[in-house]
Amino acid sequence: MNSAIELSGLGWKADRSFSLRDISLRVPVGSIYGFLGPNGSGKTTTIRMCMGMMKPDHGEIRVLGMDVPRDMPRILAKVGYVPERPHVYPALTVAEQVRYHASFFKPWDEGWARELMERLGLDPTWKISRMSKGETGKLLLLLALSQRPSLLVLDEPTDGLDPVVRRDVLTAVLDYVGETNATVFVSSHLVHELERICDWVGVMDDGALVAELPMQVFKNGIKRIKVAGAPVEPADAPFTILSRDQANGSPAVETWVVRGWQDSMRAWFESSGAVLRDIVDLDLEDGFVELLRSSRPRTPHRS
């Protein structure tokens, strides 16, 4: 088994306005896979399907080498799930909730749970209904990690949390991953957070998987380049041009955002007659924005 999650041709139609179309993705074992996309792009729906909570119209789902939904209980025993909305019982205390959760998972690590409780600053006597969003988020993570899962599925785990809590959450996850060879599948629309930790990136937009590639390739491959004397229709460019805009004040110079860039492609410019003036690296957030912008239908813009 070299994929922790494998989706093939997943499709689902909610109604006329939203559908998941042909989602095929692979999360390599032991990787940290960032599932990016704007709100409403279908990330949570996809995750729910992986967890067996929703049924797709068609397509196959395999998690940890096992079939969803047939082998669901065996899969769930090894998956630590932190959903978008807290799913713990508000009327319980932290200690009671932990004990309840622990009773379902055999490889429960009591020592790790206690250590996490201290590290994350959770008091076992607190009543869950009185806890803040950040504290509840930390509790959810504590529960998921103490199960000692092979796969962590985190759906927007740091959404709405303050920076201090976000850091605590991320370092707890990183520590766990460092010790074990667990796979992490984390969805977020907070791109810069994932930039540091993800090996792989899958980008969702409007129900489709727009890109799936190693983080390094994604970051390196998207560049903003300044081109002078560019042909109106650049034929056979070795990269994909995501957008073309005129550079400030200079009609002859254009700014292109390209995807799939490699250094050797400089040669193409010489042969095409255009002049490559500059190459600017884009960080993950910018690259992500450009990718999404280009994959959506162009609205006429005033330039």
């Binding site: 967890m51 909570m53 769930l76 799913h87 713990v88 009327a91 009671e96 309840y100 379902f104």
Partner: protein
């Protein structure tokens, strides 16, 4: 797994269960009010007839309390899960039927509490009256019937509560529709066709439910603590 589930149900029902337990204890005692004095027997002046007439007044209250207890157990079992949209339950490494079975078991254990207090109340009531000749008290049999009624209503409502609100609404609407349509259809048909005049669809249905072999048989029949 089982113990925390029991704890969870206990927490959900704690507040409401106490009054039900008290009521279960009190009911048998209330049903013999005014019949003979406590602790002073033999007493010959009240006849068997008066006994049974008095008890008969209380007879419908027993199944009602059992039903309420059963319904409360069922709803409190699923209440929290419904509020959380079952997400937590679905993420636990159990098949859904296993999860439901654990819950059912927890509720069954909790049902023993009102049953036990009923048993105590029934025995106390039976011991505190001087029975005229020809009448006997049946505290054990009544307790068994009480517990069985709780379980029957618990099981039905449990099954309904486990489903989605949508399913429950469908079932309830279906039942109501059946009763409405069945009743009206029966009347209409009866007015037009003599053969249908003695057909009573809804009544037959309800009677079938509580008749000898029906699922709710335990609710009908004799609910008297003291009887011939």
């Amino acid at each position: 797994m089982y113990q925390p589930m029991l704890f969870l149900h206990w927490k959900q029902i704690k507040v409401v269960l106490l009054p039900l337990v008290v009521a279960a204890f009190a009911l048998p005692l209330l049903s013999i009010q005014g019949l003979g004095s406590w602790g002073s027997f033999p007493h010959e002046t009240i006849s068997a007839y008066q006994f049974t007439m008095n008890s008969a007044f209380w007879a419908p209250v027993f199944p009602a309390l059992a039903a309420v207890t059963g319904i409360t157990l069922a709803l409190s079992s699923w209440n929290w899960d419904h509020q959380l949209h079952h997400v937590y339950a679905l993420s636990l490494p159990l098949r859904r039927w296993q999860y439901a079975a654990l819950k059912m078991g927890a509720g069954t254990v909790l049902a023993l509490l009102p049953a036990a207090s009923f048993w105590a109340g029934a025995h106390l009531a039976a011991a505190s009256v001087a029975l005229p000749a020809g009448l006997n008290a049946y505290p054990n049999a009544l307790t068994v019937r009480f517990l069985a009624s709780i379980m029957a209503s618990y099981a039905l409502l449990f099954a309904l509560a486990a489903g989605t609100v949508r399913t429950t609404m469908i079932v309830v609407t279906g039942l109501l529709a059946f009763m409405l349509v069945g009743g009206t259809a029966g009347d209409l048909l009866g007015n037009h066709f003599e053969a249908f005049q003695r057909v009573d669809v809804v009544g037959t249905f309800l009677r079938a439910l509580v008749s000898r072999n029906g699922p709710f048989e335990v609710f009908s029949g004799s609910w008297l603590l003291i009887d011939v």
